[in-house]
Structures are given as C-alpha cells and as structure tokens.
C-alpha cells in the first residue's frame, strides 16, 4: 500500500515544527534546547577542561566526549536509568557527527564534554541531540567551521523518501528505513549517516538531497537562536 498522506498531514519533505534556545543551563559553559515536533533534546557543554584519566589525553589537541541519554520517562515504556548499548552507540556516532566541525587544536590535553538528555522522545532523538549539541558548542565559544544539522529521514522502498519522521511513521507497518543524517550545510559534508531497512541506491541519493535541503532550514533556526542570545554582536554568525 502506498503511503499517500502523512499521519500528521505534513508534506513529504516538510520538517516538524522546530524550536531552538541557547543558554538553557546556567552552570554549563554552553547549552541549548532543540525541539523537533514532540522530540525535545537538551545539551550542555563543559570544557575545555582537564582530562582524566591522563592516558586519554592528546598532547596535540583537545578531545571531544559525548554522552547521550534518554530520560527514563521520555519514552512510552519506562526505560531503566543509566546507559544502554543503544545509548552508548548513539553517543559515539554523535561524537563523530560533531567532531568534523570543531577545531580543538588550541586545547592540548583537554577535553570538551557534551552531555545530551532527551526529555521527550518522538523519533529522531539522536538528530535533535546533535542539533542541540552543535548549538551548545557554539554557545561555549568552541571554534567551529560550521554548525552541524541533523534530520532523520524515512525511506519507503519503492515508494518515497520522507523528511523528519516521527514515531508513528518510524513504526509504519510496511517497513520504514530509518535514515538519520547529519550535514555541515556550508561545505555539504555528511558527518552522520545511518540506515536500517531496505532502500535502493537511488533512494539513498534522494534522501541525501532532501536532508541537505532540510538541514539548511534547521541551520536557519539554529542561527536565529544564537542571534537571540548574542544579537548585540555585529558580525554575522
């Protein structure tokens, strides 16, 4: 059966309502909230700061460490607090998604820690987390070549590619290939690419094209949030 109309009435390449706010956690060096529809992520950056244990230190540049976590009540069935195999993998790919945008050359032996908490999940949590984290890093004043923007696409093999799927779509009965993608919009570099499901080469190509367009819109919202906090400054973000 063809998926002809989205459950929530959006166009197939339309993002959910997105909202971003910078500076939501006072004690952090940088922080942000990013909401995509009913998915809400909060990120805090702490550092650059001393790195322990010392064997992890890199004398040439600082390292990035990410931690992604779902609040136990952010999902339909309560999740036990603490890390899981899933959250550890998401933490890792989040780190790899953000790293290409960062320049940590000036912080040898130090670490920049990024902590992400999902308060409410409706699919696309790692993407919302990356969007929040990228804003939090900018808020912390870390040198970045660009913001990192992420969105989860759904590929219905043989039918169509859908932008920013929610939980209901993710669970679509005919099989939706979940494809989270992160892009640095300026250079067009892809820094996160995962997929599970079935898709043709053409469909992946199409997903990347659509992700590129969606990420431009996400970047606009991120820049606006930064300007809301740093609006007094003259230079363009």
């Amino acid at each position: 059966m063809v998926y002809s109309k989205r459950f929530d009435g959006r166009k197939f390449d339309e993002l959910r309502e997105i909202e971003a706010k910078v500076g939501v956690i006072k004690s952090a060096d940088g922080s942000a909230m990013f909401r995509m529809g009913k998915t809400i992520a909060i990120a805090a950056v702490r550092g650059p700061r001393n790195l322990h244990p010392r064997f992890m230190q890199n004398p040439e540049k600082g390292i990035l460490r990410c931690n992604y976590d779902l609040m136990s009540f952010s999902v339909t069935e309560r999740k036990r607090p603490g890390p899981s195999r899933r959250s550890q993998e998401v933490s890792l790919v989040t780190e790899k998604a953000l790293l290409p945008a960062l320049n940590l050359d000036e912080f040898p032996n130090a670490v920049v820690d990024v902590f992400i908490q999902i308060t409410q999940a409706d699919a696309g949590t790692r993407c919302a987390g990356i969007n929040a984290a990228s804003l939090a890093l900018a808020d912390a004043g870390i040198i970045m070549s660009d913001l990192v923007c992420a969105v989860a696409l759904g590929i219905l093999h043989g039918d169509k590619v859908i932008v920013d799927i929610n939980k209901e779509e993710e669970d679509y009965k005919d099989g939706m290939a979940d494809t989270p993608i992160a892009i640095m919009p300026h250079s067009g570099k892809i820094t996160l690419l995962q997929m599970d499901g079935e898709a043709s080469k053409e469909e992946i190509k199409q997903a990347l094209e659509k992700a590129k367009e969606a990420c431009k819109k996400i970047r606009e919202v991120q820049v606006k949030a930064l300007k809301e906090k740093y609006g007094g400054m003259k230079n363009e973000v």
Partner: protein
C-alpha cells in the same frame, strides 16, 4: 572555596546572605507541569537557578507478598553531569541515592498515595508508580526542588488505559492518582551558628550541618534527614522544624 566559605560565614555575623536574602527566605520558585508528554505526569521546578525535572511512569506489576492488595512506588534520582561540573557519569553515587531515598521517604511515610487504591487484582496485579528525578542545573538545594517536582508530577499524573491488564501507553484516562496527603520537604542548613532556609550552592559548600524535614498538610512531620559534618543542638533542631513548617506552607501553595 575555603575563602568563599569563610566569607559566607562572616557575612552571617550581620545576618547577611551572599544573595541578599533573609535567613528564612526561599529563592524564586517556578513550577511547570506536563513538561514531558511521554510521561504520565511530569513537572519542572526552578528554584533560583537550580532546575529539576521529575517524571512519573505507571506500570502494572506483582504486589509484594506482605502487602498483596497494595501498589508501590519507586523513586530514583540521576545527578547527571549535565547539571554540574561536580557530577560524573556512572551508576548513582551516594548523593543521588540519598536524594532519591529522602524524597521516597517523604512520600511513602506520609502515606501520600493510597496504595490500596493502586490494587488491580489482589495478590496478582497492582500499579507501580515510578518517579524519576533528573537534575538539569545544580545551584544548591536539589533536595527541596526534587521533592517539589516529584509531588507536582504526581499531582499531574493520569492513569494510562488498561487493556487485558496490560498498559496502553500514550492513551491517558481522566483518572488521577489517589493522592491523599500533600507532604512537602524543606531543607535547613546551619552555617556559623545561624539557621538558613534554601541554601544555594555556595552556602551548601559552607554548611556545618543540614536537616531535611518533610511536613504534611496538617503540620505533622513524616520524614527527617540530618546531613553535614557537624552536630546540631536540640535548640537548632527545634528552630529548623519551626522554619520547615512555615516554609512548607508557602511551597505547598505552588502545587
């Protein structure tokens, strides 16, 4: 930090606090309900710059053999490094366990929830109430913020639908939790011989002793927890309890 502690302490000689508050004055408190729609109930409490989120999830499980017709409550707290440079990743440490247990005691011992009404089928199926507390920013007195958030979240909770004794998440009924009492916790600290309410982080680092008091609506006490490295005199305890009874009256108005 040592310098700061002695500064805070010397200010108190004139009854002055670092943030200009009166000794029994709370910071500005804000309670927001329904901050996480995936939870059956949730609340965010902002106490000065301390921020805490509590969420309630309900599940169906087996009752304890000694109380076959009663549901139960499980409270846990995560002091995530998102909230403070002093918190670390890993399993809950003693601070977060104490936080959760003191919240748990205040709710349980006041019999705030009528556990008998959480019984679905005696000896077989009861509701289990999970209260999970997450700190988002620690600027002191996480305890009072956590308790207020937990109580507000419980009051905000609605039962999910049940189908063949299984929970249908995402579909809430209009039925609320059977809350019969409304305990509130107030934490007092002693610094340089003075008793202060609602310590901020700097004051917490300077305290010699603290006492958390859970008070019911009727003004009775239902839980106590003494903390800090030094002892308290009986007069201190008396004064702290009086201040807690007064303080909880104000906080109760917010939920």
């Amino acid at each position: 930090m040592k310098f700061d502690a002695s500064y805070i302490s010397s200010l108190l000689n004139q009854d002055h606090r670092v943030d200009m508050r009166k000794l029994d004055e709370y910071r500005k408190v804000k309670v927001e309900l329904g901050v996480s729609k995936t939870a059956e109930g949730s609340a965010k409490v902002t106490l000065g710059e301390t921020v805490v989120i509590a969420g309630v999830k309900l599940d169906v499980g087996e009752p304890f053999p000694d109380n076959p017709d009663e549901g139960s409550i499980i409270v846990s707290a995560e002091l995530s490094p998102i909230a403070s440079p002093d918190f670390e990743l890993g399993p809950p440490d003693s601070q977060s366990i104490e936080l959760a247990r003191v919240v748990d005691r205040g709710i349980r011992e006041s019999e705030a929830i009528d556990f008998k009404k959480l019984c679905i089928k005696e000896g077989e199926k009861v509701w289990i109430v999970f209260v999970d507390i997450y700190s988002l920013n620690d600027d002191g007195n996480l305890q009072d913020a956590a308790f207020l958030a937990a109580m507000a979240a419980l009051k905000n909770t609605k039962f999910p639908k049940l189908k063949d004794d299984k929970v249908v998440y995402g579909e809430l009924t209009d039925k609320k939790l059977p809350l019969v009492k409304e305990p509130i916790e107030c934490t007092l600290v002693k610094i340089n011989g003075k008793i202060l309410a609602d310590p901020n982080l700097r004051e917490e680092k300077a305290l010699s002793a603290r006492l958390t008091v859970a008070v019911t609506k009727e003004g009775n006490l239902c839980a106590l927890q003494k903390g800090g490295d030094k002892g308290l005199s009986q007069e201190d305890v008396d004064k702290m309890i009086d201040m807690a009874i007064k303080g909880t009256k104000e906080l109760r108005k917010l939920i």
